[in-house]
């Protein structure tokens, strides 16, 4: 039951995705066509808020509600960030969705996006299958 709170956070998050029309395929086209500032504004604001929040959490050594220390992991440079990043970017513009919006699009009643979702699961599985053989 302790996971219900994440469901609630997810619900709010999903509502914002729809209300800001971030899950709109058209928004993603606007962004990559450089016709609209909207998505850049959203991501930019989110990053600034995130940087400030993480900075404050580190500075004041804030603990979680469960009393746990909040930890951060350093990410390592890999070739995956380049090759995988490029492939994901191509898919992002085609589907008009990164993984989060896929869930919200299905919730919005676009059941056909279930096919995109299953295909994304296949993509993840295929990556898992070949992960040892791919350039790191």
């Amino acid at each position: 039951m302790k996971n219900i709170k994440y469901l609630v956070v997810g619900i709010f998050f999903g509502i914002v995705f729809v209300k800001a029309e971030i899950i709109s395929w058209f928004r993603i086209q606007e962004m990559f066509l450089l016709h609209s500032f909207y998505m850049y504004g959203v991501i930019g604001t989110a990053v600034v808020v995130g940087i400030i929040s993480v900075g404050l959490i580190k500075k004041y050594k804030i603990k979680s509600f469960e009393g746990e220390n909040i930890t951060f992991e350093a990410k390592k440079h890999t070739k995956g960030q380049i090759y995988g990043g490029l492939l994901f970017g191509v898919g992002w513009a085609i589907t008009g969705a990164c993984p989060g919006p896929l869930f919200a699009q299905i919730g919005s009643g676009f059941l056909v996006v279930c096919i995109t979702f299953v295909s994304a699961l296949c993509g993840t599985w295929v990556y898992g299958y070949f992960s040892e053989k791919l350039p790191k």
């Binding site: 994440y6 990043g85 492939l87 993509g123």
Partner: protein, 189 residues
């Protein structure tokens, strides 16, 4: 009040709430904001197939599944309870480009000319659902994160690899929008 809630949000409000998700998840239980990992957990849960990449204790990560299910429910609530009666906001310049592809329906968040069950067994379905989805799933895992894990969580923690990943997401997206999608519509309009 309900009328205000039906309006589309300003970008700064949307960005603020999305940004605040980072500290909320950290404070709630030291959880790192990330969505694409849910795809890995579902694979590990359902079809691990003895692959090392899927051999880990996914039960520890189950919060992530609750989170993405919440996104699905939120999508449902916002669409059916707080429905904006107007058309989706789209710039005129974008509409002009999409007109070339035969897309003119702006009543829904996705163009119904593409995202439609009757397209499943067509080249449109293959391209927009199957290939697009596959690239999202494969690419995010290979990059070890998506827009949430790298562009928002990673950049919030000032990680240079996340900046590299974010730039590559953008380059891939530009390439797709300016070259691959137009080329697709040349042949399969």
């Amino acid at each position: 009040m309900i009328d205000i809630l039906k309006q589309p949000l300003h970008w700064s409000v949307a960005g603020l709430i999305i940004g605040l998700t980072v500290p909320i998840l950290l404070v709630l239980g030291n959880k790192k904001f990330g969505i694409s990992s849910s795809l890995r957990h579902i694979c590990a849960m359902c079809v691990p197939a003895n692959i090392d990449f899927f051999k880990y204790d996914w039960k520890k990560e189950i919060w992530n599944i609750y989170f993405v299910l919440g996104i699905l429910v939120g999508g449902y609530l916002a669409t059916f309870l707080l429905k904006n009666p107007q058309n989706i906001m789209v710039e005129e310049s974008t509409k002009a480009v999409l007109l070339n592809y035969g897309l003119t329906d702006y009543t829904q968040i996705l163009p119904t000319e593409i995202f439609n069950f009757s397209n499943i067994f067509t080249f449109k379905g293959l391209f927009f659902f199957v290939i697009g989805g596959f690239l999202v799933g494969f690419g995010t895992r290979y990059a070890d994160g998506c827009t949430s894990g790298h562009a928002i969580m990673g950049l919030s923690n000032l990680q240079l690899p996340s900046l590299v990943a974010t730039c590559c997401f953008m380059v891939g997206g530009f390439l797709s929008t300016h070259a691959i999608i137009p080329l697709f519509f040349v042949y399969f309009k």
